[in-house]
């Protein structure tokens, strides 16, 4: 827990950011394409899965979660679990009403 350890922290290069950005652009294009397909389930699941992948990219690289301390990762994990579980519980009502 060294204070002011920011300067010593691993630095991401400009090129990495640019690559991630390119990937994000590509994924966006892909999600629009997938949504246009006539293949039922893929049409819905595809764009959502792609959105999740894009979010992971932004979190890991732009927001530096990759090099961040464990605790901050826990914040994200706790939030995800809370939202997914509460969503599932509401679903158990609406879908079986």
């Amino acid at each position: 827990m060294s204070e002011g350890g920011e300067e010593g922290r691993e630095r991401t290069g400009y090129a990495t950011y640019a690559l991630v950005w390119l990937g994000l652009m590509g994924l966006t294009w892909l999600s629009v394409t997938v949504a246009g397909l006539e293949a039922g389930a893929l049409k819905i699941a595809g764009p959502l899965v792609i959105a999740a992948i894009k979010a992971v990219f932004v979190l890991a690289f732009f927001m530096h979660l990759k090099t961040e301390r464990g605790l901050i990762r826990w914040v994200v994990v706790i939030g995800l679990i809370a939202f997914i579980v509460s969503g599932a519980l509401v679903f158990s009502d609406v879908a079986y009403r």
Binding site: S31, A51, F62
Partner: protein
């Protein structure tokens, strides 16, 4: 004298400041979790109506806005990268580009909204009252959620503008840049929220 030095040191708790920011971002996610949950549940209840309403949204604007916001996220990340290398001027340029892209996003959003409003499709409008039940809910959620997101874009632009002033004044610098880093984190979060809003409202119904 010694005491003041100690106090200053304790206030420069980078990890603490960032932990606080991440906790705040978690609350922002919670804020958007609500309407998205409502969206999914109403989609289950009115699949046809949601499909019909979703078709009428302009995919091109949504797509363009996604690209714009992703690019602004890149420049926000680059602004942090360049302040760490001590390049103040470059940092300011990147912040400026980020804010500008945020502005373009909002202009697009404005055009999209006014297009709908011109047709009377807004809560309280004539065409809105005539809509079949599920479609009204779709547009209600659409205006509420994108509106809330738009407010966050504006907030993010203001925060970035303030940090730009701090950077220009040297308060944010190579050694002490947690304020800029937190502002960028906020901007990325606004981006992530849009990453999800886009497929939900424009693509999958």
């Amino acid at each position: 004298m010694n005491e003041t030095v100690e106090k200053v040191a304790s206030h420069r708790d980078y990890a603490g400041a960032k932990l606080g920011m991440w906790l705040f971002l978690l609350t922002e996610l919670g804020l958007f979790f609500g309407p998205l949950l409502l969206y999914v549940m109403h989609d289950i209840r009115h699949p046809e109506a949601f499909h019909a309403a979703s078709q009428s949204l302009d995919k091109t604007i949504g797509f363009a806005n996604t690209l714009i916001l992703l690019t602004s996220s890149l420049t926000a990340a680059l602004s942090v990268a360049s302040i760490r290398r001590g390049k103040t001027e470059l940092t300011l340029i990147f912040i400026f580009v980020t804010i500008t892209l945020g502005g373009i996003f909002l202009v697009n959003k404005y055009l999209e909204w006014t297009g709908k409003i011109a047709h009377g499709i807004y809560p309280g409008g004539d065409a809105f009252a005539e809509l079949p039940p599920g479609e009204a809910v779709f547009y209600g959620l659409y205006f509420f959620t994108t509106g809330l997101h738009g407010l966050h874009v504006i907030a993010g632009m203001i925060v970035l503008a303030v940090t730009a002033t701090l950077t220009a004044g040297g308060i944010v610098n190579k050694r002490d840049f947690v304020k800029l880093e937190n502002a960028a984190l906020y901007w990325h979060l606004v981006d992530i929220i849009w990453i999800f809003l886009f497929p939900f409202f424009y693509l999958i119904s």
